[in-house]
């Protein structure tokens, strides 16, 4: 039983002067300043936040989901400590989804300014005379505006942890962006296609804590359905040998990736159904057609072929 819960990380951006100017920071870093440094909030006259940094672009087409809510939360926290601070959020779409919409409204009521930008015309950040200058297009007044904030906060993308090796080890699939892929988006949301391996949290996709907890509970429950039993029933997809036809040629013994088939005391191939993984390699290789994979027997596969083109008669 394996639950893949590798978590995720905040992307360290390589744009908007991040790492080059100490006034530029990520939301997590900003939050730390707010909490750990009592004077920090008071010193902030103007704060600009840029959303969708590293998300929803060509490299990472996905929405990182937590950044809008985090930006609103941090803006409100600053406002609570320093009501005079001016907060401007440059966004593409505000996605304070679920029950977080009221915070968005509250922020607007408290004077946080939300300004939309287009991905083709992203805000420009540069240093001018030792100050941080942010230039952007303000759509309501239809003018380019430059602001000199005390702090620029980047709502940076959520990225998966380095998990390629683990994926190869468990032989479970990942999306192109590196998040693990469940067996089925709707029908098997915390399972992998491989039995006994489950996924939850940021390993699977960006999500907030409530969602992570819910998914973790789901994964634990799925694992529990197996662990709670004294015995397990294995799937019926196993290879069976027709001893009459078996020439004891050893092809299956050599072909099986799990070394399951053996030649028994009757001189025939024998496949232990509990050990069989059901891949069907032996059935395909058997030169005597003595092995059939249950649920994928030749007649069944061929019946599907026949049925596809309207043939009713099934050749055995």
């Amino acid at each position: 039983m394996v639950i893949v819960a590798t978590g995720g990380e905040e992307l360290k951006p390589d744009e908007y002067l991040y790492g080059k100017n100490e006034r530029v920071m990520t939301q997590l870093e900003f939050e730390e300043h707010l909490v750990e440094e009592p004077q920090f909030s008071a010193a902030q006259k103007t704060v600009v936040m840029i959303q969708c940094v590293g998300s929803r672009n060509e490299e990472r087409p996905y929405c990182s989901r937590v950044c809008c809510s985090t930006a609103v939360k941090n803006a409100l926290r600053l406002k609570a400590k320093n009501p005079d601070a001016q907060v401007i959020v440059l966004y593409r779409d505000i996605r304070t989804y679920g029950l977080m919409e009221p915070y968005y409204r509250e922020a607007r009521e408290k004077g946080v300014v939300f300004v939309r930008y287009e991905p083709e015309d992203k805000p420009k950040v540069e240093e001018r005379d030792g100050k941080l200058a942010i230039e952007f297009f303000e759509p309501t007044v239809r003018r380019r505006v430059t602001i000199y904030p005390d702090t620029l906060v980047l709502s940076s993308a959520t990225i998966p942890r380095e998990n390629e090796e683990l994926a190869l080890m468990l032989k479970v699939p990942r999306m192109a962006d590196g998040f693990f892929l469940e067996a089925h988006i709707k029908l098997r949301p915390v399972d992998f296609a491989t039995d006994g391996i489950y996924v939850c949290g940021l390993a699977h996709s960006p999500k907030n804590i409530t969602e992570s907890v819910a998914q973790a509970a789901a994964a634990a429950a799925r694992a529990g359905t197996v662990l709670a039993n004294d015995t397990i029933s294995v799937g019926g997809v196993v290879a069976v040998v027709d001893e009459e036809k078996c020439a004891a040629c050893l092809t299956c013994v050599r072909a099986c990736p799990y070394s399951v088939p053996v030649i028994n005391e009757r001189g025939k191939a024998e496949i232990d159904p509990v050990k069989c993984h059901g891949c069907g390699v032996c059935a395909a290789e058997c030169p005597g057609k003595a092995i059939q994979l249950q649920y994928f027997r030749d007649v069944q596969v061929l019946a599907k072929c026949d049925a596809l083109y309207g043939k009713e008669e099934v050749a055995a």
């Binding site: 699939p173 990736p257 069907g280 390699v281 030749d298 596969v301």
Partner: protein, 148 residues
């Protein structure tokens, strides 16, 4: 029959763990791909039998392909490699009888490659459209000297 109004019938033998899931994903992603593809699910492409490939053609398929996991990623260690070799063998056999081995192909994709699944489907439909109907459905055989 012109290339335009010929709608090929294509059978895709898909591995449960990757190509079949990729097909599912292609659906969830609302990706469009030609409706000519008929999928037969197998636990692993290692279950693909040369006989099944030939029988699909006998049943009237204009093209057949096998879609397995990325090389090195087979859920059952190396089933996709075996499938690749069998496809090569069957292609040679189809060439030998003048049917044309290019009507059969092997592809590799991961479960996350919904887009690739749709692409492969398109690619195969285009290829078979160019080749025309199966020789047993009135198409030309390679022995007629009309090789593409």
């Amino acid at each position: 029959m012109s290339e335009d109004d010929f709608e090929p019938k294509i059978v895709a033998f898909c591995c449960h763990y990757c190509a079949y899931t990729a097909a599912d994903l292609a659906g969830s992603m609302r990706l469009q791909y030609p409706p000519n593809i008929r999928i037969i699910r197998l636990p692993c492409t290692g279950k693909v039998d040369v006989l099944h490939l030939l029988r699909a053609f006998e049943d009237g398929a204009d093209g057949v392909y096998v879609a397995g996991c990325m090389e090195g990623d087979c859920h059952f260690i190396n089933g996709n490699f075996r499938a690749k070799k069998r496809v090569q063998y069957a292609k040679k056999l189809l060439d030998e009888i003048g049917f044309g081995g290019e009507r059969l192909e092997m592809f590799n994709m991961s479960a996350a490659m919904g887009t690739r699944f749709a692409e492969v489907a398109k690619e195969m439909v285009e290829r078979i459209k160019k080749l025309g109907p199966s020789p047993i459905r009135g198409g030309k055989t390679k022995k007629d000297g009309d090789a593409l």
